[in-house]
Each structure stands twice: as C-alpha cells, then as structure tokens.
Symmetry: C2
DNA sequence: GGACAATACATCGATGACGATGTACCGAAT
DNA sequence: ATTCGGTACATCGTCATCGATGTATTGTCC
C-alpha cells in the first residue's frame, strides 16, 4: 500500500480509495442493524449518540441514506402499526447487507483510515468482522499511517516539531496530535498483539 | 451558548450554527492568503501540508472555492506570465477578505468547535485574530465542549467508560479519545491562562 | 378537551465536494 | 526530436449532505 508523500501535490490526482465515496453514515446504519433490526428513529438516536457530539446527523440525511441502502438491496423494511406514534418501518439487514458491511470493514477506503472521525466509526463496528486476522490487518493499516512521519506544519519538506513553533495555537495542534498518536500507537500495538495470540 | 444533549434527537432539528455550512477549505484559503499573496498551486501545496494527510483536497474542489471567494469579493487575482509553467493567477486577500477571515475566526460555527479536523484548522489560523480576549473566547468554547460529559457509547443515557466495554475496539475508541481530551484540556487551560495575563 | 411535545417519516432545492478529464506550458531526460 | 513528468488552471456530471418545511399520530399536562 502506498502512502501519501504529504507535500507531493501531484500524486493526489489519482486518489487511492477505490470508488466508494463518503458513506460513513451508511457504515453506521449497516453496523447498528447488524446486531438487531431497528426503526429509523431508533437508528437515528444511536447514530447521534455515536457521532452526534462531533458531527450531528440531520434527518434529511438519514432517511435518504436508508432509501439508498434499501434500493441497493442491503436492507429490507417491514411496516409495523404505530404502537407509540406514527407507523414505523422496522429495518433489518439482508444477507447482502451483512456481506456488504463485512466488506466495508475489511477493506475500508484510505480516507476511513486517515480521518479520525471515520476511523472511529470503523472501530465501533470492527468486532463484526469475525476473522481476527482481518481485524488485525485493518489495525495495521492505521498503524502504518500513524508511523509515517507527518506534521501539520513544514519548513519546506521537513516536518516541524511543537518546540520549533512560536505560534501557541499551532503549538497546541501539534501537542494534542502528538498525545493522540502516542496513545493510539500504544493501544494499536497492544491490540494487534493480542489478536495474533 | 447551548450544548447538545447528545441523545436528545429532537433538538437537532434547528441546528445552532447560523448559516455557514462547510467551508473549512475557505477558511484555510483565507488564512494562508492573510500572510502573503499566493498562486493556486502554492496554496494547494500548503493546504495539502496542513490537512492533506487526513483529508486530501482535490484540485476540483480548490479552484471552485477560489472562484467563490473571488466572486464574494474576498480575494483578487492578478495574472502573472508563467515563468515556470502555465500563467499563474496570484491571489491576494482584499480588505473585505481580511475582515471576513477575522469574523470566521472570532465566531466559528459550532461544528468547527466540535469536529477536531475543523477545530485544528481554526487553531492553525487563530493567531490572525489580533485581540487576545477574542482568541481566549474561542478557546473557551472548545473548553466548554470538552468539559461536557460525553461518550460514544451509552447505556441508555449514561455514558459508558472504557472499562465497562467488552469490545476491544470500542474500548480503543474511548481510550484514545480520553487521552486526546486530557491533553487538550491541559493545553487549553494553560493557554487561556497565559492569554489572560 | 385542547395545547403541546415527542415520535416518525418524507420531500425539495441548494450547495459543496468529488473523480474524471481536458488544456496548456516548461525543462530535462532519452 | 520526442517523450515524460511537473506546473497550473478549468469544466462537467454526480452525489451526499443540508436546512427548511410538511404531515400524521400518540401521550401527557393543565
């Protein structure tokens, strides 16, 4: 797998993640439905709990997404007379849907590896991959990304360290990012180790 | 300022950030041009260095963004005969553009506070706010957000701690998030303090 | 018994981001 | 002499997301 040379702009043209744009939402929908059938509103509550404090999901985003997945045959809906309010559409994953979820988890696009928001969503459902080796392989992709020397600020090609910056805010960015990376590296190595055992 | 109650889905309908959707890219463009006029390609290199390892910027996103900002009168372009390759358009911020940047930095939409990717972009240019009190006010919004008890996983309304989870991957999410939050809280309090002095 | 909040889903137009593709120009290597 | 890679900008169609708005039902409080 090839990593970005951060400052090499020309290589960005042909982006590596195959097709599959966006759709963190779709992953979350499939992930939650993998455990149990849910209706849209409950699904929305769970997604809001998972990622809502960072990036809220609008209703007008969720329902079209459900429709997309239904149209693709990944989930089926059964209308249930409303016991509480309006009639609910109980959503359950089809066989196809389960397969698709596992595929998305086993081979996430590069963006899901590099963007922490997306990565967390992958992690939230990675247990649904029943193959421990496949789980470890995904973790190793993240590990490789984090081991790549990278910064947010450069002097030419050389990544700048927090101590080299005058700007307290930019120094903050590097300080926080470093703490995150450190904690995640520790966890990754530990977890990959225990998956191999 | 009102914070989200994470699981209160109904309140999400009327989202708090005024208008202003998206446009992290616009902030980055304005921020880089605030220091010095640049042509598009150089701008792209800098933006790629800043956020490219997490979320690459496509050319087809950058140039329309430049056009938008130009149309809004926030930046002006001067064509320069190509000394190296094709003729360059040197971009410089207008007075309007500078004012707009400062407004964006002083009153970022809530999404820029909660989403770490966006927040880092705000931090990268926060020095351009010349008022230390205004800088501190922005940091305090982030502080308030981080002090709000929140998790990714809940038992009903109660946020779950890492230790309560069986799933090693979800435990990882909480472990990493906690390390990040801890480091950032330390830095925030320290920096807010030194800005007040 | 009427107002009101919460539940539950839907549609619409606008917009930002994207991949694909095209068009130049330049310098260096082959 | 020509190919190739880097520089520099542009357009196009597609699609996910968004805010606004609409609709209907049920339970609860006063």
């Amino acid at each position: 797998m090839t990593m970005y040379r951060i400052t090499d702009v020309s290589k960005v043209r042909c982006t590596p993640w195959v097709g599959e744009n966006a759709g963190m939402l779709e992953l979350a929908i499939l992930g939650f439905l993998y455990d149990a059938p849910l209706h849209g509103y409950e699904l929305r509550k769970r997604i809001t709990a998972l990622t809502g404090h960072v990036r809220p999901v609008a209703e007008s985003t969720l329902y079209p997404a459900i429709k997309r997945l239904e149209k693709a045959g990944l989930l089926a809906r059964a209308t249930e007379p409303g016991s509480v309010a309006a009639p609910r559409h109980v959503l359950r994953l089809t066989e196809e849907g389960g397969k698709d979820l596992r595929r998305r988890l086993a081979e996430p696009p590069q963006r899901d590896i590099t963007d922490e928001n997306r990565w967390f969503t992958v992690l939230a459902f990675l247990r649904h991959l029943d193959d421990r080796a496949a789980q470890a392989a995904v973790l190793r992709r993240r590990l490789a990304f984090l081991e790549e020397p990278a910064s947010f600020f450069y002097d030419g090609d050389r990544p700048l360290r927090a101590e080299e910056l005058d700007d307290p805010f930019r120094r903050g960015v590097l300080t926080i990012a470093r703490a995150t990376t450190r904690a995640e590296l520790t966890w990754l190595r530990e977890t990959i180790g225990s998956l191999g055992a």
